[in-house]
Subunit: 339 residues, 2 copies
Amino acid sequence: MNLHQSVLQGDRLALARLLTEIENDSAAGQQALNELFKNTGKAHLIGVTGAPGTGKSSLVNQLALHFRNPTNGDAARRVAVVAVDPTSPFTGGAVLGDRVRMRELSGDDGVFIRSMATRGSLGGLAAATAGLVQALDAAGYEIIFIETVGAGQTEVDIAKLAHTTLVVNVPGLGDDVQAIKAGILEIADILVLNKADRPGVEAAERALLGMLKLGHPTKRTIMHHGQAQTVESTDAEISGDMWIPPIRRTVATDGKGIPELAEAIAGHRLHLEKTGDWKLRDRARLESEVETLLQQSLVSRWRENVNAKKYEAMLEQLLARELSPRQAVAAMLNGDTAQ
Amino acid sequence: MNLHQSVLQGDRLALARLLTEIENDSAAGQQALNELFKNTGKAHLIGVTGAPGTGKSSLVNQLALHFRNPTNGDAARRVAVVAVDPTSPFTGGAVLGDRVRMRELSGDDGVFIRSMATRGSLGGLAAATAGLVQALDAAGYEIIFIETVGAGQTEVDIAKLAHTTLVVNVPGLGDDVQAIKAGILEIADILVLNKADRPGVEAAERALLGMLKLGHPTKRTIMHHGQAQTVESTDAEISGDMWIPPIRRTVATDGKGIPELAEAIAGHRLHLEKTGDWKLRDRARLESEVETLLQQSLVSRWRENVNAKKYEAMLEQLLARELSPRQAVAAMLNGDTAQ
């Protein structure tokens, strides 16, 4: 049986193997993804991001447990977690992550957890994450958490894969962290104030509300170059259906506030479906993936046909600072040294 | 007079205008960079990164003050700072950053500080930062700090622009942050333990030493696809010139440990020059910049010639999940739908 067929039949080992093939960007992984793609598009993709130390992993664990055992009479949902760890391959951070999580959710066939170490800088992390998510979606996981540690551009790119993005904050962090929050507030659909049993929770909530007023008076998602972007709305639009990111307090370590947070997530899904934003985000995500693949393909095609001697000669001129990087590229593409 | 000529003559306003043109990737900025490129390659580029709240800005301010007024008899150096802030355009974080810094270093013509907000996700941040650094280098700044907030892939990419990378840590951060540190330890040439007057500094130093032993037994920089990468060295290489990242304790708020840190920076520069790594890093940086520009050029050339109707048709098939993203790209490039 082919790998993709085993995955569709619920074989967990085959799924684990497929995810590795996708992370390695192997031909087998690419082919399986091509086959599985028609089975995707059903899962609710939930991004979870925020500064280090805000307790994102515990929060995702608790939400996973909740969706497996809903307290409000809903059916149990199959849940997957993709945790993107900015740890180096040799420290083994990602592997350790898997083990720590397993204690809480192990033995449940309706849960699949995968950690992913960031590797190199070939810009492939968001692409690889998109592939993992597609495989899990095709394998029938109905809710897929994409958890990123940190608040850099990579995290923002990965959050753009999601239908619903949770930005996690905690009371009492310093000004430096507040600046980071401001930067990722734009991508927040739901704000979580975790560790809400700590002092300073009122002040933190007021600060978040203030930033929300500054940043989200008029939030609207549009597409630009295949990316979902947030722009200011017109007055006419504001009178219509707007999503104002709600703030939810949680204490992930003891599960407090988790049902209310899960409800907000379900509410956002309804909002997306009602307004058509669900399809819009789906489209933006796929367009963005096509853009990235297109770039990679164009470069590798060009590289196959390039004259190695000419390339080296250009590099030498660059290092001697006779040509600027831009002039060197123009020369390689045009066969002359015009800018 | 042209913009680049004014910059070469030390006109600060012209330099500020040029940096804006570069950030906007305008034709004027590109042309000026082409002209100025032959004047680059002299500055010592120092990357400063680390988790939020570690006091990177204060540390860079203190180092800038030190290099302006060296206590060891060296000549004063001209210093520039490029601070990359992951804040959104509308919160104005970057602008505020400039003002806060200015109080400490204002009125000194030998200092130039520029904050840069991250914008969009077109992958242009590292490229724009490279452009700013080239302009400042050409304008005669001898030491250029590139300061990034956070520890994501973007920060790693930007750190790769530098000759010397400082990774800043503080005592007493949680496990989550430790994981991040492990990820960026690979890029550290010097480890700074800031806020060293806090409790837990001994334990933090032991933890860093432990991670260093794990990660840097055999550090060596090579080039791979135009990127400087760290690989394991052979035994023969280990017996030669190795750089073991030193740990320096500082209290940036009162300047403690700054002369010793400056000395470590100067020592790393000497090491780079002695081993030839200075040229190697220069080459890796320029190759990486050429790669990025090449990618952008290939995509925009392709886009100019693409049939818009055919592109839309492919997108529709993608959204209907009749074609996978990879199949859609193959179809657009080949004119057929083979994988």
